[in-house]
């Protein structure tokens, strides 16, 4: 991907730990979907998680805001451990934004209402202030003119940008992306990736499950490769792509980069 103009001045990784996953295991019934996951994410990191389908990468990031429950081990997000305690879960969820493959906008609400609902009811922001914030982020994702429309009237790329803006309105400290471009036409992938790059330039901590290897090379500071519920290999993007160590990684890379 040719995006030479990436501003790296704020893309710095601090020593502060944002997410700490230790010895985490998860089962779906009898199926051991995540096995002994150990992962530390520092603030400011931009991590791309890739791997074949069914490798558990989506499940992993869904565990981080507890859309999925883990059965063993520990997940600490921003100093809050995720247990069955609803208060902790709500706290983590309001600090962690998530963008889904299928956007998951609320079709019965206008774009503006989609963006202001959570700030008003979770953060207790006054309506006017919430709308100003919403307009700010809509301008950032370059669709302020769509504020009064409904999601069904927007293109896929626009909807995904609205979904990103909706998460940003909660002023999250961490953003999770679950295959944000997999449901989009090629033309729209670029506008969404551009938005994500901008976000990275501002120093946001990001975890992206994606197969956009161009994005990984341009933005990520670390690439994690998963297979069969385990982390198989992780490295800096340059090393990861040019000098993969495990055979599984080599096979995967040859398959997705080979065509």
């Amino acid at each position: 991907m040719n995006t030479p103009a990436i501003d790296r001045s704020k893309m710095t990784v601090s020593d502060e730990v944002a997410i700490q996953v230790t010895n985490m295991n998860k089962w779906y019934g009898q199926f051991h979907v995540l096995r002994d996951i150990d992962m530390t994410v520092n603030r400011g990191e931009r991590i791309v998680i890739c791997g074949p389908s069914g490798s558990g990468k989506s499940t992993l990031i869904r565990c981080i805001n507890r859309l999925e429950e883990h059965q063993q081990g520990q997940i600490i997000v921003d100093g809050t451990e995720l247990t069955s305690d609803l208060k902790n879960i709500d706290k983590v969820r309001s600090e962690v934004g998530m963008v889904f493959q299928h956007f998951n906008l609320f079709p019965h609400l206008t774009i503006m209402e989609n963006l202001t609902l959570a700030p008003i009811w979770v953060r207790k922001t006054p309506k006017k202030e919430a709308e100003e914030t919403a307009m700010y982020f809509l301008e950032k994702v370059k669709i302020p003119e769509q504020a009064q429309k409904y999601p069904g009237q927007l293109s896929g790329g626009q909807q995904q940008r609205v979904a990103i803006a909706r998460s940003l309105c909660m002023k999250p400290r961490i953003m999770l992306f679950d295959e944000p471009t997999s449901a989009l036409d090629p033309e729209m992938i670029k506008e969404v990736l551009d938005t994500m790059i901008e976000l990275a330039e501002e120093g946001m901590t990001m975890l992206c499950v994606t197969h956009e290897m161009g994005f990984a090379q341009a933005v990520a500071n670390r690439v994690i490769f998963m297979d069969q519920g385990q982390i198989v290999e992780q490295n800096e993007p340059k090393e990861f792509f040019n000098n993969p160590q495990s055979d599984r990684t080599k096979l995967f890379l040859s398959q997705i980069l080979g065509h």
């Binding site: 805001n65 889904f100 609320f106 019965h108």
Partner: protein, 482 residues
């Protein structure tokens, strides 16, 4: 252009021409819809003949109808005199003489204005809920209903004082609708008590006491909710309200009733009948079964085992039992289970069981709507940090209810028509109870179609109205793919 040449250049553009006659207007419609093939043409002719036969055999009956007569015999004489011997005709005179029983049952005649007023106020109380925030629609509804209600009250005879009072109330409501339409929802909230007072009468302080109890409940809950959480605060609020209703209220309202004896003549439940009864049961059960069905549907999808199993057992039990069984339960069995000497009104018992019945069906309709929502919707709500009730209120239910509108309204229509089944437990519903009673009169013995047609037409008007409203609502709420 020669047959085989590959190249072709058009040198003259063609102008638009009219389509052939057989492809436009009425001719085309007839061709396509009535005579598109020999079989269809044949079926069209047969249908035309059937329509002709129905009209030809029933029209004289309607045309020969007699409106003024004192008995069926007199009707027949008039018809024979007008249309010749052997002619048949409708004897509408029975409706002219007995219409009030179809509408009010055995309600005291000099108090007919009370059900009329209650019905008018009910329509006004429905308007702000059905057309929320639409100022002009609300004003139009209120204005029209006011005028019709006043005319109705004049028609059945109302004393000057209450007529004047109604005019003042209507004017006040109209002013509210014009100035602050959203405040009109208060009318919807207090209407149940107003309606109860108007219909059953008695001292005004009873309903006022009940209203104070609800007020206490809301105030206590509001004060405590932020400190103790919704569940504990709710429990305390209900306890406070119960103490008020059971212990304090009688001590306060009895002396008040002596000091300020504002009261309407009490009317017993067994004097209710006809459409008054249908509406009391139907409207109460409809408005109570929707929230109950909602909670049951949510309960059935809940992760909490206890709540889930209670909901499942309730729904499956109620749906597995015919309504008639439930009505018999209401009239006979329920008394055995209630504390001794608690004399539960029969209409109230019937309303409770009809509500349960409708709620179980509505719960399943709403569950269908909930199941139709993609899982991503609740995941997105969770990911944004909304709690369970916020997610249900803002994201899940608005969409699920929208999907369920046709099913919910079908349930309501069915419920409204099922109110006629109360005839089986001895209540005077319009279809069986009143009709049977009217036919028992020696003057009208032998009248068959007329009362049934009358009752049928009224049911049709209201059920059709509900159906049209649901279509309006679906159009209004359609926001997804425009």
């Amino acid at each position: 252009m020669t047959q085989s040449s590959m190249s072709f250049v058009r040198d003259k553009m063609l102008t638009q021409q009219k389509p052939p006659v057989s492809e436009v207007g009425a001719v085309r419609w007839v061709r396509e819809n009535l005579f598109s093939s020999p079989l269809n043409g044949f079926l069209t002719l047969i249908s035309l003949y059937v329509v002709y036969w129905i009209i030809a055999s029933s029209l004289p009956w309607f045309l020969n109808g007699v409106w003024t007569a004192n008995s069926l015999g007199e009707c027949r004489q008039i018809i024979e005199a007008n249309a010749g011997p052997g002619a048949e005709g409708a004897c509408w005179a029975i409706l002219r003489e007995r219409w009030h029983q179809f509408l009010f049952g055995f309600y005291p005649m000099d108090a007919y204005w009370r059900p009329v007023l209650a019905f008018g106020l009910m329509l006004m109380a429905l308007a702000p809920a059905l057309y929320y925030g639409l100022r002009r629609v609300n004003m139009l509804m209120l204005g029209t209903v006011s005028v019709l209600t006043l005319l109705g009250m004049l028609g059945v005879g109302t004393d000057g004082f209450h007529l004047l009072l109604s005019v003042v109330v209507f004017a006040a409501l109209f002013a509210v609708a014009a100035l602050m339409p959203k405040k009109l929802l208060w009318l919807t909230l207090v209407y149940p008590l107003v309606g109860f007072y108007l219909l059953w009468g008695g001292s005004v302080w009873g309903p006022v006491g009940v209203a104070i109890g609800f007020g206490l409940l809301v105030v206590v809950w509001n004060k405590l909710q932020s400190r103790l959480g919704a569940v504990v605060a709710g429990g305390i609020a209900v306890a406070v309200a119960l103490i008020w209703w059971l212990q304090v209220q009688p001590m306060v309202t009895t002396p008040l009733a002596h000091m300020m004896p504002i009261r309407l003549m009490s009317v017993d439940s067994d004097q209710f009948g006809g459409f008054l009864l249908s509406f009391v049961i139907g409207v109460t059960a409809v408005s109570a079964s929707l929230p109950m069905g909602l909670l049951l549907a949510l309960g059935r999808r809940s992760d909490m085992v206890f709540i889930k199993s209670v909901s499942v057992v309730f729904i499956e039990f109620i749906r597995g039992v015919p309504l008639i069984t439930m009505l018999f339960t209401a009239s006979l069995l329920l008394n055995y289970f209630l504390p001794p000497r608690s004399n539960f009104d029969l209409i109230l018992r019937v309303i409770i069981l009809v509500t349960f019945f409708a709620a179980a069906y509505i719960a399943e309709v709403i569950r269908g709507g909930l199941a139709a929502l993609p899982k991503g919707q609740s995941e997105a709500a969770d990911a944004l940090g909304l709690d369970y009730w916020q997610a249900q209120r803002f994201i899940i239910l608005p969409q699920a209810l929208k999907i369920s509108i046709p099913g919910i309204v079908s349930s309501f229509i069915g419920l409204f028509k099922d109110t006629t089944l109360v005839a089986l437990v001895g209540l005077a519903d319009p279809l069986q109870g009143i009709t049977k009673m009217v036919r028992a009169d020696i003057n009208w013995k032998g009248v068959y179609w007329e009362p049934l047609l009358f009752v049928g037409v009224i049911f049709f008007i209201f059920c059709f109205g509900m159906s049209r409203y649901s279509m309006y609502l679906e159009r209004k709420l359609k926001t997804d793919h425009r």
